[in-house]
Symmetry: C2
Subunit: 351 residues, 2 copies
């Protein structure tokens, strides 16, 4: 069923059918109704490929998940507690808004080409990029081409520096700095002074912010920073396991540890308990993200909640606005985190 046939059946031309389909105003109600009836009767849906070729959008958005690492074994998304819920939420929300979603993973530098390709081939009307290690060059090319773009967890200043003209971009970040400070202040209020930190990948905006907030907050409270207490985790479980084990072997433990994310906090809990170190009795642990696991583990993990669903909602919302070209939007949107106190931290009773 093509527009020509509908036209014939309705006794009009293809152009008129097109006008009706695209909701042009200059079609009399009578004609419109006549055409619409035939369209509905035959369940006609215009061919998207032809539409796209002729210059219209494709009604689909791209979701790119980048997880570039030096390692051979990549951190596959299906086993990542942070990506997975976001991905699924985006799909769900986009579909509800009538968009198709093209999802693509990026594990190597050359995969970035897939993003530009998807845009230049008109496969997508707009895109969302999430993940570690965003490629600045690619991002700038996309922005300069004025493709509607939403970037999750990215340094907005980088965009400001590279782009004099404001374009169609929105960056969505969370209050990583404040969230980290909140958690730390909570730990300090519990009487902790020897507070360790498991850092994430600092090539990530949030990873960088959380580490900075840790150092700043510790200093601000007149606590001496002990570099031995800053563990490298890089958001990778295996690496975290090793770092924590080394800390245990050093026989010099902090009384509390804040982790840059829950996945690493959970690993730490596991390693500590295997070594007979009880949580929260012997050491307090807090995380960041509030992944589903966090609340179901024993003891339940105290953590800083990242509103993943809200972030997905905002991403779709902004992208939708940009695609519809009602207005151009260039902004950073910051969602608030929230400290969720559970059972993994205890008050330090000073003698």
């Amino acid at each position: 069923m093509k527009s020509e046939e509908i036209a014939k059946l309705a006794g009009v031309s293809r152009s008129t059918v097109s006008r009706v389909v695209n909701n042009y105003k200059n079609v009399p109600k009578e004609t419109r109704d006549k055409v619409m009836q035939v369209i509905e009767q035959y369940n006609y849906v215009p061919n998207t490929m032809a539409r796209a070729l002729a210059g219209k959008g494709t009604n689909t958005i791209g979701l790119f998940i980048v997880s570039v690492s030096d390692k051979k074994s990549h951190n596959r998304i299906y086993q990542n507690n942070y990506f997975a819920p976001f991905v699924d939420a985006v799909i769900d929300l986009a579909n509800q808004s009538g968009y198709y979603v093209l999802v693509h993973t990026i594990y190597e530098k050359k995969d970035f080409l897939k993003i530009t390709e998807a845009f230049s081939q008109k496969r997508i009307d707009g895109g969302i990029i999430i993940g570690t290690e965003k490629n600045t060059e690619t991002i700038n090319r996309l922005i300069n081409a004025d493709y509607p773009l939403v970037i999750i967890d990215y340094d907005f200043n980088e965009i400001l520096n590279f782009n004099t003209q404001k374009k169609n971009v929105v960056v969505i970040n969370s209050s990583d700095y404040e969230g980290t400070a909140d958690a730390l202040n909570y730990l300090i209020s519990l009487g902790h002074k020897k507070i360790g930190f498991i850092s994430g990948r600092t090539s990530t905006f949030s990873g960088k912010q959380r580490l900075k907030a840790y150092k700043d907050t510790i200093k601000k409270n007149n606590i001496l920073i002990n570099d031995d207490f800053i563990l490298k985790g890089d958001f990778i479980k295996e690496k975290t396991r090793n770092s924590v084990q080394r800390l245990i072997d050093s026989k010099n433990l902090p009384t509390a540890i804040l982790s840059s994310n829950d996945d690493m906090a959970l690993v730490a809990m596991d390693v500590f308990e295997s070594s007979g170190i009880k949580i929260p009795d012997d050491i307090s642990i807090a995380g960041f993200d509030d992944v589903p696991f966090a609340s179901q583990v024993h003891p339940a993990l105290t953590t800083v909640r990242l509103p993943v669903y809200l972030m997905a909602e905002k991403a779709i919302e902004f992208l939708s606005i940009m695609i519809k070209k009602d207005t151009t939007v260039f902004t950073q949107f910051i969602v608030s985190t929230e400290l969720v106190i559970r059972e993994s931290c205890r008050e330090l009773i000073s003698d």
Copy 2:
């Protein structure tokens, strides 16, 4: 950069460029090399929309997640421990094979149209359908249109009945019946005789099979089936919570319970423990699926592992074969489950 420009630069016609791009044999190596060089130099990629319009495939597959329910509040995929890993695995694997993936959720009957639409609009070359409540009518229409299709968890006999001609379909199921029997036999070997069952949605093939296996196995072991011990869970957490609570209130507990999936088993554990009923001391519990949670909960859940990743691999593999049209494939593929014994079941010491 379009084929015409490449043609000009290479000193040939668009047709020749097309032939080179599509790997036609009747192009002399010399010409091919000449064209290829220009293509690579300018990083030319043919426009997929135009290609699709002209009759070629789009190099993208569709992934449809159906979760139809009578309820208003749908069981969103992003919070479903069974769908999420499969979805993510499929995306990952498809991307690795060079496919783009279009993901779509289906929450209402009318959403099924999106599947046929995606195909008829040539948005996708093939599709994978997973989830509850598959719409037989839609599926038959798709099969008869000969669209490459992989269906997860579906009764193959339904397809055999409705389709005399063998078409391009493969159904991927797991050994639900055997897996259930394995778990039950394990429980029986532990000395349990009063074994309850939390059933899933019987509108699902796996849900039906698991229930059937439960009844058969219990009977086969000369144990009387107590209908009070068969709890309705329908793969829904809230429903499960209520069913379990009612069982507790009845004061007549089985000594062990097998759940149709882990999510419900986890809910049951939670409800029991809230009522002061210890696992596995007071009651043994086993699940099905082996979701990531299962191994990290305390006590770790004994369950039947569903090889989700393998299922995703097979789905892509078969779909790929069908799309390439090397051969037509019509078959059912059954992946094996495996009993994973952990800590949630204990031997019943008879006096």
